[in-house]
Amino acid sequence: MTTQENEKFYQEVLDICLTAGRLMIEGGSEMYRVEDTMMRIAHNAGVEDPRVFATPTGIFMSLDGGDLMQMKQVRDRNINLELVDRVNELSRQFANRKINLTQLREKIIEVASDTPTYPLWLQILGAATFSATLMVLFMDDYDWVDFPAAAVVGTIGYVFYVYFKRYTNIRFLSELMAAMVMGLVTIGIHALFKQTVVDNILIGALMTLVPGLAITNALRDLFMGDLLSGVVRMFEAALTALALGGGVAIVIKFLGA
């Protein structure tokens, strides 16, 4: 039942769907959205009954009428919403027949190879603003002494995290090291300026790395019925939190604060 050119078509559809799914998981999308987008692309390409199973570490997909059943592993997962938005937009265009299958393939490969990101200085500026402002929002006592300190520590920690991540393949190590650097800098600042509060500064600065959103996402996956991906994501978030807490704990334990 699988003729030569049919097989080629099925292979192409599978390739496109798997790449799209991988990109969306790498961008931090919810699982039901990943599965939905892949199904939609396959449907609109003319496959009657696509079957998809997506987890945070790998995607499986098979199509009816073909003998093909393939999978793709997902190695790194972080939050990059531009990816999710791009793939969603492409899928929408494909559904509206604005682009055909070949163009969709080209565009998805283009998204995979270079996604537009904000320049590093803007990201660092973002990290600085939001660690300082969140510190004020959280503590609710409006102490302006720690305001610049939280911005400085948040910036240094974030820069360190970004650069360290490029040099290591071990997951969670960059979080641990960044947390340790943040702790060291904070204690240094506290030694110089006695009126600062170590806890306030660290709460603001650590928010750049805290996986609170990953936990929320995991719970949403669980509620939506994607039990496997919910559990996996929850565990990943817990490990990240452990790495951050461990980093801060080591520094505080050794230096005292």
Binding site: G28, E89, T133, L134, D199, L206, A249
Partner: protein, 158 residues
């Protein structure tokens, strides 16, 4: 500090915090401003609810609920996925303080305090997730009733 200044600071800072976080996670350009606005509304709802004395769980739930509904509306307008607006907007609600306190008490050897703080983190996280879930359910219900009335109306006309 007078109340109006406090409110003003809260509004400005929640906007800055949401947009700053949105920059670090690479939110698309056209969604930046709206995610900040959704962050303001969510945080102010939480803040007012906490001020009125609704307790930690209910106020987080309300904030997340409002953020979820705004995210769905903005997603319709801008044709983006909902996550793009929700994730930056939820940042101010994330339980950062109890999480840090848990680590801090565990380091000091205060196991009881650590457990209490971890439990608080769990409660707040569950409340946020429930709020988002309820908002999804709410909009689904709304669109379904709308569809129901439209079909009934058509039947009467024909």
């Amino acid at each position: 500090m007078p109340l109006w200044l406090e409110i003003l600071i809260n509004i400005i800072f929640s906007y800055l915090a949401s947009v700053g976080f949105a920059l670090t996670i690479n939110v698309p350009h056209r969604a930046l401003n709206l995610s900040g606005i959704s962050g303001i509304v969510g945080w102010m709802v939480y803040w007012i609810a906490a001020r009125v004395g609704m307790g930690r769980m209910l106020s987080n739930l309300l904030g997340a609920f409002v953020i979820g509904i705004l995210g769905l509306i903005f997603a319709r307008i801008k044709k983006c996925p909902v996550t793009v607006f929700n994730i930056p907007a939820l940042v101010p609600l994330v339980p950062g303080v109890p999480a840090y306190q848990a680590v801090r008490s565990l380091v000091n050897g205060d196991t009881n305090g650590g457990e209490a703080a971890i439990l608080r983190v769990a409660v707040v996280t569950c409340a946020i997730a429930l709020g988002i879930l309820l908002s999804t359910m709410f909009t689904e219900m709304l669109s379904r009733t709308k569809k129901f009335y439209r079909t009934r109306h058509n039947r009467y006309n024909s």
